[in-house]
Symmetry: C2
Subunit: 395 residues, 2 copies
């Protein structure tokens, strides 16, 4: 067993109220002790260990937990994005464009692209993430995407029900049968979760329920994409079926807020998506005040949110969704962990995974106060240095 002391932490966010001040469990002038890949202790002042890492007075937070990504895809949709910014509305149909490119790509190319995106997310401070399939939409392609995803995370989500592929036009129910049958059988062994895009233009409430029930029978946990492009049944369905998370939640009516507040289902907000699709931002404040659980995720994908920057998502959640900076930071760490029903990530209490981020400043406030500035200084995963920046200009 090897131990590592993270010393001289000016401000440590543990996300554990029993360890420090407030909901972020803040400890000042702290040290963290890791043993192998786990947190062993949180100390005030110095600590003993085999090796040392000097945080130089900076702020340390738990690594970001990104509970909603679509990392495995090929193709580029920057022209579609530019057109949208110039006035064209977002439509879910763009998923087909990426599906075509993804099906045409070789497995090695997809693996390389996904790994590059994972590395980019790591540099942004993301130490754990969920990855969905959903740009294959046939049995072999979906299985291939799940395989590639499973090489990067143990939180793989089977999302065969992302869109009805072109070859099933007008036969959505038949496609749902394929998803619930042969496709699920091929993908379930590689996945922990099943997800469905419950939205006008994608799958209706009955189709979505069928997909979720089939997934549950196959032993998968439930997730839902819902209420992104307008009011809809996604939130209610997710709560009714006990889904771990319902994601987007851009349009929430009174009944949705009430249902979320009385459930364990996490409302996962995707601020960069509302930014990139010119949707109105949801009123997260209202849902939080009602007592609902909440998370923030990047939704990295080529159509509606091509970013890996959790800091950017946090800044938007604060500016546009009514979260305080503390709530947004919690949402991007512990919130993501809850949305994935994990207690080993998203906090830095003893026993948790030794996943942490050093911010190149004295407070997490700067993630919003200094929005746009790359502030991730170092990232440790499982107690090992995974990335450090070199911010000094060359001579």
């Amino acid at each position: 067993m090897s131990s590592l002391a993270i010393e001289n932490i000016g401000l440590l966010v543990t996300n554990d109220e029993s360890l420090g001040e407030g909901p972020l469990g803040i400890v000042r002038d702290a040290s963290l002790v890791f043993e192998d890949d786990r947190v062993a202790a949180v100390e005030r002042g110095a600590a003993e260990a085999d090796e040392r890492f000097d945080a130089a007075g900076r702020c340390v937070i738990p690594g970001f937990v990104d509970s909603h990504t679509h990392l495995v895809f090929a193709g580029d949709r920057s022209e579609e994005f530019a057109a949208r910014m110039a006035g064209k509305p977002y439509e879910a149909g763009g998923i087909r464009v990426t599906t075509e490119a993804t099906r045409a790509a070789g497995e090695a190319e997809l693996r390389t692209l996904a790994a590059a995106r994972r590395a980019e997310g790591l540099r942004a401070g993301i130490t754990h993430l969920e990855i969905k399939s959903g740009y294959g939409l046939d049995v072999d392609s979906e299985r291939r995407l799940c395989e590639i995803a499973s090489e990067l995370t143990d939180d793989v989500t089977f999302l065969g029900a992302h869109a009805v592929p072109a070859e099933y036009d007008g036969r959505a129910d038949e496609y749902v049968e394929l998803v619930c049958g042969e496709m699920l059988a091929a993908c379930a062994p590689l996945a922990r979760w099943i997800d469905v895009f419950c939205e006008r233009g994608a799958f209706d409430a009955d189709q979505s329920r069928a997909v979720l029930e089939a997934g549950r029978t196959a032993g998968l946990g439930l997730r839902v994409h819902g209420n992104q492009l307008g009011p809809g049944p996604g939130v209610q369905l997710a709560v009714e079926m006990g889904a771990a998370s319902v994601d987007h939640c851009t349009y929430l009516d009174d009944a949705d807020v009430e249902a979320l507040a009385e459930s364990d289902t996490v409302a996962t907000f995707l601020p960069a998506t509302d930014f990139s699709t010119r949707q109105p931002y949801p009123d997260a404040r209202r849902m939080i005040d009602a007592g609902g659980r909440f998370a923030i995720a990047t939704n990295t994908n080529p159509g509606s949110s091509n970013t890996t920057s959790m800091s950017f998502c946090i800044a938007l959640a604060v500016r546009e969704m009514g979260m305080t900076i503390e709530e947004a930071l919690l949402a991007a760490t512990l919130g993501g962990a809850r949305a994935l029903r994990r207690d080993d990530v998203g906090h830095l209490a003893p026993g948790a995974r030794a996943d942490m981020v050093v911010i190149n400043t004295q407070s997490y406030i700067d993630l919003v106060y200094r929005a746009g500035v790359p502030l991730i200084r170092a990232v440790l995963m499982g107690g090992t240095e995974a990335w450090t920046s070199d911010p000094s200009p060359r001579p």
Copy 2:
């Protein structure tokens, strides 16, 4: 004389319509030839030179020209920012907080802080910038700030009329006399510009006019902070006096838009400021459609915009102010140059300064499409490599 060829540029933005397609003057599969610190040629395909820099198919743009910054200050206002995000309104009076910290700081500390911010901006792709004084507000302190600024740029702006300092409470006219007299005499030799914050709570139209007239008499060019916190006389005054730029322009009425459209005065939008102060975003689209000149700048300062990220400003200008991506990129390069009345920066035509940025992707669209992701790969200033990123994760 030494020459350098930037080869294998997938997409080159020259900002010169005579050199390529559209208003960005785009050339594909291009090379740039620098001789000493200047652009010597733009070539299609390969080029000859003493040395070579491989752009590896990436996009190259002119370096950002940041025409509005307040880099020289001490102290932190992150707590004030956090309170504002939680609902407290922004007030111009916060300038006094920074003035107190800046007056108390030693010259060496101020120089170190300013240089670190300049280096951060360089990493964000800013190759030329304007720097204002304005946190000294007494003769010696203002002169000291101008001196430090002049070590970092030849576009120094004397902004003694940033706020009425506490010791002149209720005696604003007396303070204006000091600004126009002894303070201007001390600062003018170090500055190219004079600026005034023409806003309720700062200086009224008559006071602002007096400051600008005194500056003009001292040989300085004119800039105005105006129409930030509400409708006001700033824009009209700037146009009437032939100022190079009027900055903020958050509140523009019909007469303001008309005046700007008929003048050479550049409307400089500061998107990160509206983000950070929770102001409504201005309708830049309307001003652009009316035919006005426009720029985007960071307004780096501790109170209302503590960012050096021009990419973040561009993304906000597109999402929130109605600019197309092309207009926003022009605004952050050529627009900034116009706001500083310079023709040597902001474009990459022969004769211009060899200031360029390599974006770590194939198109400038990604500055918005991939918002939040640090995409600045390399920065050359005056033909010399000033910074390159190493985006590879460590093993």
